[in-house]
Symmetry: C2
Subunit: 356 residues, 2 copies
């Protein structure tokens, strides 16, 4: 692995060039061209107690042009690396879907399905410890909406996150190209739904609590998780997560905190182990007498799985999951409007944030 | 119906006050309080050949406090109207979900499900020819992302749609609060996916073709459709629709053009009958030799339904649907990247827009 600079795209270019040089050297040395790729199979994914997120253990596989069953995939991996090199050189990006269609014009021929071309991208990401965004590949999903005291730069565009409309500044899919220029906020308050986001913007919670309001929009996109990671790391802001009080809400929070197993090879760039879940908890449901829905069978099953999941092993999570299983009820974050639209801003959140 | 001003929120307030006055008059006259609501049942929804969208025919039902089976719903309708009046007075908005939870505190008691509170909102919308956005109720969904030569005002915030980040200016859920300040673009180019949106922004198609690039993000939100309607009406811009070449893509385009049956009571504010579908068509699939997927059985069934749908009765649609059924193939808008990422911008779109 080459040394890393401040510019992830430049680092990606360096890695890709080294990859090319290695292959050339193999050929000159009359050895079969080959590469090592960390295994992403379940047996190689471990929960790292120290880092507090999922990461890959040491198992690697070798892909080589000397193996008839691997040679096409090996060549496609080279073509994909070449495609990414062209993107970086041109300062462009492409969706995974576009790469899949573009591959139809490669000398190797295209992939039989997008799953396969996506996996080759993951191979390159994990082999060289790069993010696809730095390779010029953009995820399809929208990033979060942000409102609050933050100025960012994208290329030669400077954007104030309180001046981009009430729907907020939208994180582009490629967070690598976003530079933090100035931030006056003291914390990040990330919420699950756009409904809650609009409530907090409207009640000026971003101002009252000097917070960046971030709408996760359900399970957060990679760009959103990268934003939260960088807000925590680069800006030193504490991150608070406010989701629905149900298994999916817990999952959304935990994906931010500890990353997902599927993305174990990249969690060190995404996970925010110090992010704090501030509800809705089962205790909140009782304490605030919230309107609830009964747990479904699938909710109960999911909650029981969470009890055995190492990411939820701390006492607080265990207690709240047990309690939810006991009361057999769940509640949404908008349920606080039982007490008026402002209640969540004036009572619940300041209590949870310790600002009362 | 009262005369309409330039300010939809003011109009909504006037209608709600008149509603209150009518009820008071009923009571003073010792008549049972009542209201008339246009029927939204299938039998009252008609495709208007002249207007070129679905609208409601004349059938109305009466809701009255004199009927034991209706009295609770009548009272809840009054409470909902009162809730909206408070929102407008406070200059606020709330999600339908928030209103549903708030209703738990009403003297009538809450609704047994959000479906029911949503329907009461639709009753008020159709009875007084108002949009829920003007009543202060905001849809949960995000609006479209926009990039191009447009300046809007939201309250005291002025936003340039080329200066809000590369992910663009996001339409807020309440388009009623958005004022068009300046527009130098000559047309609207609305595309189905964020992937295509990012391609067009990156290739500077908004500049080359002097267009507002609008990402519909699948089936467009109400705010997006309202934006397209106003861009067409108020700014006089032609609207072009570029979707995937499959039944869902056709549906997305047609919902913009002719509105949906479900929203027949409000289509006059949303439908853009002059919007032009510019593909992907079955003819494009053949002409451009696009990568395709085979039609599924559900696609074939859906296409056959479209053949009988009055909105698709014109010759061009009929020909393209027949052809797709014949070739049994569909293609996505990103499939043009088979010929390189720029192809769609440099070849396909200018041809379709008649700019070659």
């Amino acid at each position: 692995m080459a040394e890393r600079s401040e510019d992830p795209r430049k680092d990606a270019m360096e890695e890709l060039k080294n990859f090319g040089r290695d292959i050339l050297k193999n050929i000159k040395d009359k050895e079969p061209p080959r590469m090592k790729i960390p295994s992403r199979s379940t047996s190689n994914i471990v929960y790292d107690e120290d880092k507090r997120f999922y990461s890959l253990a040491g198992k690697k596989t070798t892909r080589t042009a000397a193996n008839m069953r691997q040679v096409k995939k090996f060549a496609q991996t080279l073509c994909a690396a070449d495609f990414c090199k062209d993107l970086i050189e041109a300062g462009k990006s492409a969706t995974l879907r576009e790469m899949y269609y573009t591959s139809e014009g490669w000398p190797t021929g295209g992939f039989s399905s997008q799953d396969r071309s996506d996996r080759v991208v993951e191979d390159i990401e994990s082999a060289f410890e790069l993010k696809r965004e730095d390779l010029g590949l953009l995820p399809e999903e929208d990033g979060a909406s942000i409102f609050g005291d933050l100025i960012v730069r994208e290329g030669d565009m400077e954007v104030e996150a309180t001046e981009a409309g009430r729907a907020g500044y939208t994180i582009p899919p490629t967070m690598s190209d976003v530079e933090f220029v100035e931030c006056g906020a003291e914390r990040v308050l990330a919420v699950e739904t756009m409904g809650m986001y609009h409530r907090l913007v409207q009640e000026e919670a971003w101002d009252t609590y000097n917070s960046l309001i971030v709408a996760l929009k359900g399970q957060p996109a990679r760009a959103t998780r990268r934003f939260l990671k960088r807000a925590n790391n680069d800006l030193g802001l504490p991150v608070y997560l406010f989701t629905d009080g149900d298994p999916f809400g817990f999952h959304i929070a935990m994906v931010v905190i500890s990353g997902s197993a599927k993305l174990a090879y990249i969690n060190h760039e995404l996970a925010v182990p110090d992010a704090k879940f501030i509800g809705v908890t089962a205790s909140d449901i009782e304490e605030y007498k919230l309107p609830t829905d009964p747990l479904r069978d699938s909710d109960i099953k999911r909650l029981k799985q969470l009890l055995d999941d190492p990411r939820y092993s701390d006492e607080e999570w265990q207690k709240e999951i047990e309690k939810m299983l006991k009361i057999k009820k769940k509640a949404e974050q908008q349920a606080f409007s039982k007490y008026g639209l402002e209640y969540v801003v004036e009572e619940y959140l300041p209590t949870k944030l310790g600002l009362n």
